[in-house]
């Protein structure tokens, strides 16, 4: 099964699941609602803390 992650559209605010895997080739992502490509992955809390 393809892995997925939550993404937030930085144009219209829609939150959606899109294919994502840290090892897979980068995919072009678009918001299902407004088609914007400004899709930002919502990182897990833990991951975000670790990054700090």
């Amino acid at each position: 099964m393809a892995q997925e992650a939550d993404f937030k559209c930085l144009r219209c605010g829609t939150i959606t699941k899109l294919p994502y895997s840290p090892d897979a080739e980068l995919q072009e992502r678009a918001c299902p609602k407004c088609k914007s490509n400004s899709m930002r992955r919502i990182k897990e809390q833990k991951e975000a803390r670790a990054a700090k």
Binding site: L10, R11, L26, Q27, E28, C34, S36, N37, S38, R40, R41, A51
Partner: protein, 599 residues
Amino acid sequence: MAYSEVDNVSGYIGNFKVTIRKKARYVDEKQCNACGECAKVCPVAIPDEYQMGFSSRKAIYIQLPQAVPSSYVIDMKTCLGNNPIACAKCLEVCEKKCIDFDMHDEFVTVDVGAIIVAVGNDVYDPTELDEYGYRSYENVITSMEFERLICASGPTEGHFVRPSDRTTPKSIGFVQCVGSRSQKRGNPYCSNICCMNTIKDTVLLKDHYPGIDLKVFYMDIRAFGKGFEDLYMRSKAEGVQYIRGLPGDVEEDPKTGNLIVTVENTTTGKIEKHEVDMLVLSVGLLPRKDSEVVRQLLTLSKTSDGFFMESHPKLKPVDAPTRGVFLAGCAESPKDVKDSVTQASAAASRANIVLAAGKIKVEAITAHIDPDLCKYCGLCVKVCPYKAITQTDRKTKVPAKVIEAACAGCGTCGAECAFGAITMRHFQDNQIYAQIDAILEENSQNKVVVFACNWCSYAGADFAGVSRLQYPATNRLIRTMCSGRVNEDFVLYAFRKGAPIVLVSGCHFADCHYINANRQTVLRVERLWDQLEKKGIRPERLQLEWISAAEGQKFALVMREVEEMRKKVTAKEVEFTKQALAPKKKEEPKEKKEAAKTQ
């Protein structure tokens, strides 16, 4: 070089070094006269791949009758061990003593100026389309299997028989678009050759067996090439029935082995049942499974359908994005024989231009690395899509160096170097900073800074212009060759100078003119989003968009959308951003360093 594969490729246009693995044949190809005595005594019998499993071959075999060189080869996977004591029957009977079980793969390195990629294609396996009963019913075959059965050098010497009882079928059905033109199963693209392949097959069958009953189930017949419509008409005139509709179900009559095909005839809207002796599935073409190896060796890119991408679909259809590499045949897309030959001829002549010229012209947009500023981090080497930068070495302090013949001028390296060691010969950093300054000099609160890549987004703006599409004048464009050229600091600088919104735009992933340079854009924008958020700045103020040259409308729409976003950015927010991003006292802003360097 037959029975060989490319092991490694290095270098660049005019100076490629190709290492080829000559696989061990275990038969001396120069000595072997293909008498076939060895195969007669070989005790192994396995399905012959070339004959699509309709006949068998030995472990020592010739792949196909026309093979060059005409010499046997031992398939070590099926040979009963290369231990001569275990079998070695072939060795005993070979009068010319050309069998050698101790042979090893050899590596040959050649210097070449240009490379033509002609990897061919694979075909779709229709097993997953269970409504057609391939693999469940013996008399359902694929178009590839059909070719073997009708071929004079095939397993039946061209006498067309059905697999279940080896009788000549009286009726045959053909199902088109198997694995093609489907969003759900198989592939969304048209495989280009299947319609004409079936039409040719029907004419061939009618020639061999005039009384045969032939039905073609199709959704469209695409007979667009020279002479193709005539052949289609001829097939119809010879009595081949063309039924518009793809079968929903195929069942076998267990007594006769015949097949009952249920189809909705979309011309009449009626459900019909047709009984045929055999069913041929016209399977689509796929990119070669192992083409990924070639892609990596030659730093090529692929389109969304998995075939190799050409440098430009209209102006450079046989050139690969890597200079000195050319594409032929189905490496680039599904093609018939004529188109493959045409493209191969074009590729050969394009390659010949490189070889005959002896030298090449490089556009003056390449990267230049200042060895004194290079800190040997090697990041530029990693991001260059063309492998145009030579390896750095920290220990021995070897700085990075650009091979200008291989550099395409995308500027990705320039955006990556954190030490300001790379200058792009056009679109220099200081020129870009100057453009940002000019845009934000007055009324910065009313401006949207847009970085637009030359090939797609900027061309999309042009297209919007010639289409007379309006977009707000507050959007100010800065052209870069690739979105991968956009340095993180360009964006931060724009924010520091009071930009309410910054948009980074480039080509869609599949269209990147620099192989995959725009993937670096995504990584940079993602890093910037994190950085902005950390500083308490709304990441929404940095937007990312892929716009193709043909998407003038999209360009105008995006411009209107970001303008709406701009209106919501308050002056207070902009002021806060300026403070938050202001360089720390000790730190000299990057743009200053840049300016000093170029002065």
